[in-house]
Every structure is written in C-alpha cells, then in structure tokens.
Symmetry: C2
Subunit: 232 residues, 2 copies
C-alpha cells in the first residue's frame, strides 16, 4: 500500500483528494518536483476565523519547506505562533479546449501541504534556509551574491513547515468530451503554457563591463516528473 512506504505520504483526511481522485498523487517524488519547480506558493492561515491567503517565496530542503519573509510581516508573525497552515503551490501547464464549453479545463500540477510551521531561530539553519531560497529562485546565484550578515539574518524571518502531510493533484492530456461531441467540426486540444524568461534588464546603477551571468542568460526552471515535454 502506498501509504505505508517511505516514498509516499501517509494519507490523512485533509490530504486525501476527494474530487477526481484519479488525479491525486501521494508519492514524494511528485510532491518534491512540484514544490521545486514552483517559484512561489500561496500560504493560507486563519486569524480570528478569517482566512488569509498570501503569495510567498519558499524553498524545499529534503522534507522541510522554508517560507521566507521579513520579520515585519504579519503573516510570518502569525505563522510563527504555530497556527495551522495550508501551503498550496500550483503550476499551470496549459489550457484544455474541449468541444463543449462545459468540458473546458486546464492542465496543472498542484501540491497542498498541511501542518504547523515553526520559526527558524538557529543562525546556521537560517543561513542554510536563506541559501536554499536564493538557490531555489536562481540556481547558481548564492555563489555570487554577498552573503548575509548576522544582522541581516536576524531581520529575516524564516519559517519551517515539515513535509509530513502533503498530496499533489495533476491533470495532463487532451480534453475529455462527451462521446457525441467528438464529431463536431471544431478544433479541440491543448495549448501548453510555460513561464519563460525575457531578456534580462541590468540594474540602471550597474557599472559597465559586468557580464550577465550564465545562470541568468540560460535561466530555466528544474523539470520535474509530470511536466509535459515541449513538442517541436
């Protein structure tokens, strides 16, 4: 049974996908790959019964997701109190044009992680987590950037959310139309979408003669399982 192996997350009532369970994935490889490819996530939490959903930069290190922000952030202060969190990361892979308006859909990969976050207070873990965040967003950048001072680390609030309750949901492939609609003389299929870099813009205050690094000119996201391959 998947829920009893180390390579899979144990299903819980809140991680079990109920709507279209065939699209659910509980294996760590899929969950890791989506978290690693997504550049940011949305973090949900509750304050006085009111839900808040905030876009946040994250990074995964083994079985921990780090969330990054300023120590002035209300979200991070609230989460550091140990309240329940739902972290959702979604990658849009394409639009699905069915013959019927009703069956239009999207291809996507998403992950939900549940749990209570803890604040990272150890300076070494803070440094590792900040490094993971920078490398998550721009692999190769940490080696070049000025590393954080102790004062900067103290101004950075990093939270850690253990990857213990998580699941993924993935839709791929062509539209699924009603059988009687397939004879309609109407184009149907997928329009794949990809987050693509444009030309880099140097900081206006950059002195001349500094080349754009190869991790910027050749930027691309890590490709995880489930990501559709581009077709030529």
């Amino acid at each position: 049974m998947p829920s009893q192996t180390k390579d899979h997350f144990t299903r819980t009532p809140r991680t079990t996908v109920r709507r279209r369970p065939a699209r659910a994935r509980y294996d760590r490889q899929t969950v890791h790959a989506i978290l690693d490819e997504a550049l940011f996530c949305h973090v949900g939490f509750v304050v006085d019964g009111q839900p808040f959903v905030i876009p946040t930069i994250h990074a995964r290190l083994r079985e921990v997701v780090y969330l990054h922000g300023s120590s002035a952030s209300r979200m991070l202060r609230t989460l550091a109190e140990g309240v329940e969190v739902c972290l959702t990361a979604t990658i849009l892979d394409g639009l699905v044009l069915a013959r019927s308006a009703f069956h239009h859909s999207m291809n996507y990969r998403s992950v939900m992680v549940f749990g209570r976050a803890r604040e990272v207070v150890d300076l070494r873990e803070q440094r590792r987590a900040l490094q993971a965040v920078v490398e998550h967003v721009v692999p190769g950048r940490w080696a070049d950037a000025r590393h954080p001072s102790e004062a900067e680390l103290r101004q950075t609030k990093l939270l850690a959310l253990a990857l213990s309750e998580a699941s993924a949901k993935v839709r791929t492939g062509p539209p699924l139309d009603d059988e009687s609609d397939y004879e309609l003389p109407l184009w149907a299929g997928e329009l794949p979408l990809r987050l693509t870099p444009l030309a880099a813009r140097p900081d206006p205050r950059l002195p001349g003669g500094i080349a754009v690094p190869s991790y910027v000119t050749g930027y691309e996201r890590p490709i995880g399982p489930g990501r559709p391959k581009p077709e030529v």
Copy 2:
C-alpha cells in the same frame, strides 16, 4: 481621499496592506486588470478551524468574481454555505537579483478579495458566468464551443463573490540594495518572466482538415496596467 471615490475600494482592516504599504493599490482599474490577466486564483476558506487553499478558475464580470467548479467539489459546496473567503490572484512578472542575498526579491502583482460567496442559481446568470469563465481563459472560444445544455448548467456550480473588499499589491523595478553594496563588481538586475504559449497540440481524436483557430495560434493574455513592457 481614495477611499471615498467610486474608482477606489474603501479600505478595511483586512484589505489594508501593512507590510510595504507603498506597494499597495486600492484602485479598481489595477484590481480588475490583475484579476483579468491571471488565469486562475487561489481560494482560501476555513473548515473546522483548518485553512484550505485551492487553485480555482475564475472570471470577473464588472464588480463580481465568478468561481467555477463541479457540483461535486467540497470547496464549492463549503463556499456556497456563505463562509468567509479570501481569494488571491498572483502574477509573477520577474526575478529581482540584488547584490546581497538578503535583498533578492520578485516583481509581481497580486490581488486579495475578501467576502462571502453566494451560489449562482439563476440559469441565465449561470450561463453568463460560464461564458465569462470560458472567455476569460480563451477569448474568442465561446463563439465556437458547443454551448451548455440545461443539464450541464445544473451540474456546474458557480459561485459569485462581490468585489467590495479588495486590494492589490505590486512590486516593479530593479533591486534595492544597501548603498554600500552598489560598488560590488557583481551583476544585478531583473529577469522578466512571462507565461508564454508553446505550439498547440491537437486532440488525438481530432479529424484532419480542422485548422487551429486564430485565438489559439495568436494566444496572449490581456495586458493590464502595471504589467512591465517587454524590451527588445
């Protein structure tokens, strides 16, 4: 005062941006443009104290955001009960590479909408809302697609969330480094990112001789204010 004009949302405690208030936008034009460009949003709600954050297709019609799903969806059933919702739509515009690791950031535009959703039960409003959703995702598609039958409309659950409490947050521009770091011999700047269509993939069951429509071959998102212009 912005909060007293029709073109701006009245600020409330939950929509007032506290962290980096200079990035806050309360004008309807900015909020509308972000909701219209974003292909999907994340909807947060609370069940028994537990937050859930679900990626969802939406569409805006004037001052209402419609949410689309199946009548089998737990989320939509919960929301139809009139619980408090936080809808967040985020568009990533680029990566911001500062000289210091500490000041790395992202350029983005996001919207948060608060309120209680109502279920759309009138068949004409359901049809208008489904049309808005299809046209939101692929402008031009509604005229071609087979329109929904009454049975399909009854299987579609659509929720309406009034745009009465909303705000936006926008970061643009180059990195903001510490003054002493500007002399470091290190590339810094922005790497703009854009969601870009790849080649369309026809449904394997599509008969020959059906051309790809121009709204697919020429697909692009509507461009709203605040979206950085591509540079050549």
